[in-house]
Amino acid sequence: MTQIKETVDIPSFLQKKTGVDVYQCYQCGKCTAGCVLAEDMDYPPSYILRFLQTGLETDYKKVLSSNTIWMCLNCENCIGRCPKEVDIPVLMDFLRQESREKKLVSPKARQIIAFHQSFLDSVKHTGRLYEAGLVADYKLRTKRHLWQDMKLVPKMLKRGKLSFLPEVVKDRKKISDIFNHTIDKKLK
């Protein structure tokens, strides 16, 4: 009996949260054919849609713990070519948040998430992205490929592409309020 309940629940839960009706997908595979990273993903986009359609908890967990949802570049090629205009990018945004909330993040996606976190920390503190700070913070978080981008530093300085100091928004209180009302509210 539980299985029947689940079958109904996950797709309608997704529709309620994102407005996307996963049953619209008839598995033509155009999204996967056009996805530039399909071959690097645990499951390509059309598989993700199929997993969401079954409504099974185990399939939903597969989706939330896949690297696919983090690899997705939101290039929007899939929805551009979908004959039913299933908004996969909107689903992906939602699934990423679900995956963090349910603590099912794929270990393969750690670097990508660390980058997003460094990015948002920079914006939270200054209101604008400070690229030099972002890269330094990210490297410290992940300790990966430390030298690859460090080699770029002198070349970027020479070309005037790197500032020594961040640009700062005057109304920083407003920026921290925005963070407190949105992303940080959930984490508290």
Partner: protein, 282 residues
């Protein structure tokens, strides 16, 4: 009337030459543009990957500031910022509850009436009709116009050009004397925000783009997005390593190519700031 200008973070840092060339063109054509005061980051990929409300609130504050400062129209040269701002405006106009929620979090009204122009729409509206008359050094090269993702998609919201074979940049480049070639990667993704965290994937995706443009004889790739530019230009060593060949095709912002055609100097247009040598085209 003055047009508001939202440069975004890239144009103040790694893509300084895009900023310089947009402003140089505006000056050359006598268009008044003024930076929106106290603007903040749009949140880019990081915000919408991590938190939906944050990804709408950050652009909403920019739109609200533009309104408060009396701008009816703003130009947003970065394709990623343009996309975030346009999507936010659309989502808030669709859903009154969401709009209230977001304007509450930014504590500012946001009517959503500001017209948002990407760089091509800006050039089309203010420069296109004068461009041929002003061209003194025709840009006589075969060029591959690379639109990427965020200028043309999602079409349902942006309603700008065709998603598969867009033409707006090709048309502008033809007007300054270039031959815009047919090629296969006009709107394929360069890898965008994975540039730092998954450089290996960016090398592959951007490598395919550079290779196709070069193989088809283009002398330059023309772009309108700072992320496309950094991936195709600054990541060239990784691209060449992936392709196992040395590629030399330079990557120019469309504003730089038009600037050269109307007689502006490579220095004014920031062409010396690139990683891949650009002197083959001037």
């Amino acid at each position: 009337m003055e047009i508001g200008f939202y440069p975004g973070c890239s144009l103040k840092g790694t893509s300084r030459e895009y900023n310089e060339s947009v402003l140089a063109l505006a000056k050359a054509f006598g268009i008044e543009i003024k930076e929106i005061e106290d603007w903040n980051c749009c949140g880019a990929t990081a915000a919408h990957s991590m938190d939906r409300k944050l990804s709408l609130a950050l652009p909403a504050r920019v739109l609200a500031l533009a309104e408060k400062q009396g701008f009816h129209e703003i130009v947003v040269p970065c394709a990623s910022c343009y996309n975030r701002l346009a999507v936010t405006q659309y989502k808030l106009s669709e859903d009154a509850g969401l709009k209230k929620d977001i304007t509450d979090s930014i504590k500012m009204p946001c009517s959503g009436k500001v017209k948002i122009l990407n760089v091509i729409q800006f050039l089309d509206s203010y420069i296109k009709d004068k461009i041929q008359k002003r061209t003194v050094h025709p840009f006589k090269y075969d060029v591959a116009c690379y639109y990427g993702c965020l200028l043309v998609r999602p079409h349902q919201i942006l309603q700008f050009d065709r998603t598969e074979d867009p033409q707006s940049m090709d048309e502008l480049m033809r007007m300054v004397g270039a031959n815009a070639i047919e090629w296969g990667y006009k709107t394929e993704c360069c890898g965008a925000g994975l540039s730092v965290s998954r450089t290996d994937l960016v090398a592959k995706l951007s490598g395919n783009i550079v290779k196709d443009a070069e193989d088809r004889g283009a002398k330059a790739i023309i772009v309108a997005c700072p992320m496309c530019h950094s991936n195709l230009d600054m990541r060239r060593p990784q691209i060449d390593e992936y392709l196992r060949e040395k590629t030399t095709i330079p990557v120019l912002y469309i504003t730089q190519a038009i600037g050269l055609a109307i007689g502006l100097s490579p220095e004014e247009l920031g062409l010396k700031r690139h990683f891949v040598e650009t002197s083959s085209i001037y």
